[in-house]
């Protein structure tokens, strides 16, 4: 797929000879497709970078995207697609910036004419296609890493362990509990138990939309692990539908205490640990 040395030379000459005109035309075509979402000056800068990279690579000899010579070109393409992916452009809007070069080349080759015109244009087209594909790939890679980062952040955000009372910690679970999250919750809860020396933990599942056998299994494992370490777990926040599901699925919580609300669970724990709560005359506002 690589361009031969003569072809590369002709391409470099074609693009380098009328640099100003090429970049202007190229920028024009791209601008119309992006509908003003990127400033003219920025676009022009990106196009000029690409143009410079192609010409520089062409002067070195044959252009092969996978070769050592094309490192600068690859870097320019990666830079462009990464920027577009982060700014939220679509894949089409990103790759069209590359494919626009084809239109420019068609005009140039037509003007130059000569015996090799058709052959050259086909070869140049192939190179542009390759560059487009490369851009698309790195666009997808950037998007994927963005998604992975977000998933990780979500995991961090969604599993806090809070201290409710001296010796009582609570985990308010929000969202679906899959294996990966259950593992994180379990590890964080057990580590907090060790760090704070709390003998009681409350797992609140008010925010869990559905409890199936797998979710129940994860919760049970956490409770058993906490018991092995010498702490007691209470499950709270069981909504009416969830209670029905649990019974329908035949899930057995055994001798694990389950409470309807977090308040009930806290009261239960306080009674177990011997803390007395009493109601006093409420203070009236002045």
């Amino acid at each position: 797929m690589a361009l031969s040395t003569e072809e590369s030379g002709r391409l470099a000459a074609l693009l380098g000879g009328q640099a100003e005109r090429v970049t202007t035309r190229w920028t024009e075509i791209v601008t119309s497709s992006l509908r003003g979402r990127l400033s003219q000056a920025e676009l022009r800068r990106q196009v000029e970078d690409l143009h410079r990279a192609i010409v520089a690579t062409g002067q070195h000899g044959e252009i092969d995207l996978a070769s050592e010579n094309a490192a600068e070109l690859r870097a320019a393409l990666t830079e462009l697609s990464r920027g577009r992916a982060r700014q939220g452009f679509s894949a089409t809007e990103t790759t069209i910036s590359i494919f626009a070069l084809k239109d420019v080349l068609a005009e140039l080759v037509q003007e130059a004419g000569g015996a090799t015109a058709l052959h050259d244009f086909v070869a140049f087209s192939k190179l542009v296609d390759e560059m487009g594909l490369f851009t698309f790939e790195s666009f997808v890679r950037t998007r994927e890493s963005l998604i992975a980062d977000q998933a990780e952040q979500l995991l961090e955000l969604s599993t806090p362990v809070v201290k409710l009372w001296e010796g009582v910690v609570a985990v308010p679970l929000v969202g679906t509990l899959d294996s990966a999250r259950a593992q994180v919750v379990m590890e964080r809860l057990l580590q907090t138990l060790v760090d704070t020396g709390s003998p009681y933990a409350i797992i609140d599942i008010t925010g869990v939309p559905a409890v199936d056998t797998q979710v129940a299994q994860h919760i049970l494992k956490t409770v058993v692990a906490a018991r092995l370490m010498g702490a007691d777990c209470i499950i709270s926040g069981i909504r009416p539908q969830i209670a029905q599901t649990i019974v329908a699925l035949g899930i057995e919580f055994g001798d694990i205490a389950t409470k309807a609300s977090l308040a009930d669970a806290l009261r239960h724990v306080l009674r177990l640990s011997g803390v007395e709560t009493a109601r006093r005359q409420p203070r009236r506002g002045v």
Partner: protein, 136 residues
């Protein structure tokens, strides 16, 4: 051969396992502990496994055996300081330490033994009318 030291604190014997257990050390520990319980008349044994990275079925069985021996000699056994990773592994493997009481740290373990011992004393007092009249 390496030996696991047994420390006496008040009414409690503290065993802190700091080395990888082998068959010999385990047997030696069981013998030493049984002897110390009889000698001192302690009512509680705390086994600290904070330093253990791995608790397999062998260590689990050893802990169960020690708990059973102590029970026969009227001493309560509490295993303390199990690491989260160890607990998760035990649960994943489906191993449960049957008949062993656990606590988060040595302090909680001592509270647990004190509470269990107090319960027992109450129970004995309630059970024995002579003791009650003697005390009143």
């Amino acid at each position: 051969m390496e030996r696991v030291p047994i420390l006496k604190i008040g009414d409690i014997l503290l065993v802190s396992i700091q080395l990888d257990m082998s068959d010999q050390t385990a047997v030696q520990l069981q013998e030493d502990l049984a002897e110390r319980i009889v000698d001192t008349g302690c009512h509680g044994v705390i086994i600290d496994i904070t330093a253990l990275d791995i608790v397999d079925s062998f260590v689990g069985r050893m802990l169960s055996t020690i708990a059973s021996i102590s029970k026969v000699l009227d001493a309560e056994t509490v295993v303390v300081g199990m690491r989260p990773a160890v607990a998760i592994t035990l649960v994943e493997l489906g191993l449960s330490l049957n008949g062993i009481r656990t606590a988060l740290n040595v302090e909680r373990g001592m509270e647990l033994i004190a509470a269990a011992h107090a319960d027992e004393l109450d129970y004995q007092l309630d059970d024995d009318p002579d003791a009650e009249t003697a005390s009143s």
